[in-house]
Point group: C3
Chain length 213, copies 3
């Protein structure tokens, strides 16, 4: 079980680092910016969670493997040959990235809730909040630093998947930890795949010409 | 007194949530983004304050009523009919919003100082800072997430009202808590209304063609 | 030694405040925004560091001299006559600013590491992180609030100088504190001057037309 969670975390770390590194390259940042944005996307959510929970210094510094994996990912992606190789079959690339990114969103959300439980928190609002924060927080920092509107606000049901999984996980936790962990992560993956397959999206406000507010 | 403060907090929460929800709709965010931005604007300042003071997890999670009110406000505003109704008499709408937003700025500022005092802080710089942070912090997060220049930096004397009220409140606190609370909040309301009536604004730097810095 | 460090901190505070104030004026902020952005740039890095280390409330509130110096700097710069005077010999101005800003980057980085050590942290990743955060964090907040892409991501090797100095400082600390402090700060100054003299910059990803990621 431990090994399985660790593998999922590494998959998620790589996916998040790829998204951060590509964002930085699109914004014409130098190699330093590429590495920092990759690391921020990968470990930023966990750092925000630890600040909210009062875990200081944040746990990520005691487990440098995630930051090192993110840095390595950014450095490898920096080579044009690697990007050309990945871009050769763009459909396959997008499918793999969707899978890895969903695994990351799922595992980080439930790991966030687990961390909160282990530090004695039982408040359902807090549990769901830190779960979602761990899952989507890194991406929000990435977008703010890159000057983009945070992805979670404008596209698909990314954060909703995280919220649904977080609620399920937090509700099941007192009953059975394994079911909570696996169920929460699986629900997030399921919603993400269904949303991608059927192109689900959330309603927007219909703004009319006569809207004056 | 407790009831009065609570009523003022709810008025402020609704006003802040309205500003967050409308910002999100203008940016074409989906319903999730609208709710999150409404909640962030309403409770974000208090969360930042609690991080500065070391109150972890932040108190807002133990008092979910504010987040729930903000969510309900966002959902109601999502209906075009509601926005059309509010927009029918735009002058009245703006006056009501100015009143509610000013009540929110006033009450959140003094509640921020009260929280700092209750946790044993006596440093005047810290007291004023967390008061102002509680009052304007949510709006700053809103603007950063929405990609706007923070409102408090470019318009009117919004934050100055909060600072003046915070200084008065912190100075009066050791003498009389009720006077500090009421006086600070009242001064903020007064400055906001005077600024709106007489269209006060703060000086800007006169940038000349020959300015090369 | 104490006096020397304090003098270096004041030089850095003024340099950081100038950069924040000029950014705010370029963005047409009012006098309040100019002061806040000057203060944020000067003390923001230290506040972020203290949140990461769990020093709450942050130490800056107990040492208001830095905030006061930043405020005074902003107010003085607000006068057009001062900016015209500084702009009269723009080459000299840029050299002085490069020197002051480099002193600030150097001293804040090593002071950040010192603060972490004094609070019992020995983790090398954490030490380097908080050193760099103290050095560059204020500038990142400045750029995010002003709506710019953070300077450290797009230009020169600003943050790399801070990282190199932080690694040296953290490595030398257990051997000799004075050597760690002076060596780290000196290395940062050296790299900054060399980078400015020889127009060093870091490689960017070569984005090709055929890049599809």
């Amino acid at each position: 079980m431990e090994t399985f969670i660790f593998a999922a975390e590494i998959i998620g770390t790589i996916a998040f680092a790829v998204s951060g590194a590509l964002t930085a390259m699109r914004k014409n940042m130098d190699v330093f910016g590429v590495i920092i944005l990759a690391m921020t996307t990968a470990v930023g959510g966990g750092i925000l969670r630890d600040l909210i929970l009062g875990i200081q210094p944040p746990g990520t510094f005691g487990h440098p493997v995630y930051g090192i994996v993110a840095t390595a990912t950014a450095v490898i992606l920096f080579f044009p040959a690697v990007r050309r190789l990945l871009g050769r079959n763009i459909t396959v690339y997008h499918r793999i990235m969707l899978f890895m990114d969903s695994v990351g969103l799922g595992i980080f959300t439930v790991v966030g809730i687990q961390t909160a439980f282990e530090h004695g928190n039982r408040n359902i609002f807090l549990l769901v909040f830190v779960g979602v924060l761990t899952g989507v927080g890194g991406g929000v920092i990435r977008d703010v630093l890159a000057g983009d509107t945070p992805y979670i606000f404008v596209k698909h049901i990314y954060a909703c998947a995280s919220i649904a999984g977080a609620v399920l996980c937090a509700a099941l936790w007192p009953i059975n930890r394994l079911a909570a962990f696996a169920g929460g992560a699986a629900l997030i993956l399921l919603i993400r795949f269904l949303a991608a397959s059927f192109r689900w999206s959330l309603p927007r406000a219909a703004i009319f010409q006569e809207d004056v507010l």
